[in-house]
Symmetry: C2
């Protein structure tokens, strides 16, 4: 119990953890509070970045705050995540990240050593992804009013493709390419937070996706839409895309790669891997005739070794996502309703 907390304890009229889950509650918050107030072309697109009327419409702009706990986890840390996350959001808009801002909210009492490790990790990730950190800000809040370190990165990037890549370009017949096995990040962070141990060592999938997207574009793949899978997992990302594009998707459950450790952990904990968070996975919507070529290109990339075609856009009139299992049964996927696992990114 935090004795200092001045906020009310009732839940009905106030923010709950689920509002940050990236699922249904986040969606409600956006619909009710944000979209009516900030109505414009870009907010209405409900994409992870905005392609702006600037320099022949090639400027893409995005932002993300990172509040993950713990700050360090197998396979990554908040610093890497903060750089990769924004680089990835730009990549999902078909853009190459050029410049990043970095704004720190530090908690009084944060050890300098922790700060240094996080910043070194950010610098390494920036070097790796070829992005320059050019402007920043630092705030400090009193002990107990933060949680060590929160990081915001915003990014500007340059559009690589001939047109913006966004949900409005999804077409019936498109194949859905998933870049790799799902759920590693969420399970790793939870295990790290709760002190759980699994038979096989598991690491987060936390990774930069820009090189893979560049490879696909350079390979001549006409990408219709891209989306990285973060909070809310694969299912939530696809339901969002179905609704935004007005298209129906059909997935083949048997094709969705899940590694054994994640599968086992999910069984044990009663979680559905479709809803577990990722930080280095994406889906691409691709014309059917390019699907095999795209898979072959992606498989050559470090982040795409376990990629798979997991479904298609059916052309049916309802904007929904159907999962078909091996027995031929259909399951209608929904957004993550509330909170599966808070503070995952």
């Amino acid at each position: 119990m935090n004795l200092q907390c001045p906020l009310p304890t009732t839940n009905k009229d106030s923010i709950r953890l689920g509002h940050g889950s990236g699922g249904e509650m986040t969606q409600q918050l956006l619909k009710e509070f944000i979209q009516p107030l900030f109505k414009n072309t870009w907010i209405d697109q409900a994409h992870d970045s905005a392609t702006l009327p600037w320099d022949s419409d090639r400027l893409v702009f995005t932002t993300d705050s990172f509040v993950i706990t713990p700050l360090f986890f197998p396979g990554g840390d908040i610093g890497k995540l903060a750089v990769y996350g924004t680089v990835n959001d730009l990549a999902m808009g078909g853009a190459e990240a050029k410049f990043l801002s970095c704004s720190l909210i530090l908690e009084e009492g944060l050890p300098f050593n922790t700060l240094k490790k996080v910043l070194q990790s950010m610098a390494g990730a920036a070097e790796e992804t070829g992005v320059k950190l050019v402007t920043g800000d630092t705030k400090v809040v009193e002990r107990g009013k933060g949680d060590g370190i929160y990081i915001n990165t915003s990014g500007v990037g340059s559009l690589l493709s001939n047109h913006p890549i966004d949900p409005s370009y999804i077409r019936p017949g498109d194949r859905i390419l998933l870049s790799g096995d799902i759920g590693r990040h969420g399970i790793t962070v939870m295990a790290s937070r709760e002190g759980l141990e699994f038979e096989t060592a598991l690491t987060s999938d936390c990774a930069p996706l820009n090189a893979a997207i560049s490879a696909l574009l350079q390979g001549g793949i006409p990408l219709h839409c891209l989306r990285d899978l973060t909070r809310g997992g694969l299912a939530t990302a696809l339901v969002e895309l179905a609704e935004t594009s007005g298209q129906a998707f059909e997935l083949d459950e048997a094709q969705i790669p899940v590694c054994e450790s994640v599968y086992g952990a999910c069984e044990m904990l009663g979680l559905d891997p479709l809803y577990v968070a990722n930080e280095g996975r994406f889906v691409a919507f691709i014309p059917a005739e390019y699907a095999d070529q795209a898979s072959a290109i992606l498989r050559e990339e470090r982040v795409g070794a376990s990629c798979a075609i997991i479904g298609k856009v059916t052309g049916k009139p309802s904007a929904q996502v159907i999962l078909k299992n091996s027995l031929g049964c259909d399951r209608l996927l929904q957004r993550l309703p509330g909170e599966q696992l808070p503070r995952i990114c």
Copy 2:
């Protein structure tokens, strides 16, 4: 006492509130931790924004996080501050703000009504300053791990002047024009936080500065450098500029406008108005022959009614700021050493 806090209680090797003051301790943090890791043209400039090689070098990029407490204060609130702050940072780079991102870190238990009021205020401020909020992000942290609401805004703007406006253009002989009386924001927020009451009602100077800068540029004033006065007050801003530009400034104390309420409050509380925070004031460095014309233009603007020429660039070799009082005594100004007032923006 916060029983949940996992951070050490010793101060020596960890973040203190003073590291967020915008003064000497913030400077040390930047020098020791940030600049060595992220060395590039823009970080080295130590300016509030970065002018980027894009679209004929007219793209200016900046970021700021806002952690003010209380969220609402006489004359403003965190929402207004978050929009004005970033619009102002762009204006200080000689740029017109075009697009903003908005990233929210909400604390579990934050009443929806509070969130709504803050967002409405942001929307109003965006409308007022002609900037479009085009991309965003929302995170939620557990009760006691935040303080209601933290906001990050990043902004991209278009350079209005013929060259970037930054400390490297400050020249001997330049006059220093201060846009208005100082210290209102800091004293107002402190009074609001501590429940102090003064004889005269005081409101924050929180205001957008873009119209005033546009007016100066349209009036043909060759602005050499601009800086808004936020944390650390007038003194800290000028010491920073002296050091970055390598120039010496001389100020005439009698010319620095301070309103009676602020003066009285500072006397009572033992504060120096030169170090009290502002959120709607700036200094401009202007060739001597344009100083009167610039003052006349600024006086017509709402935010510049009490503007004054407060000093000049002397051309002396040492990078320092000297304050001359009415008795002719000199005082060497330093950065705010630690923390005068935390959580002011």
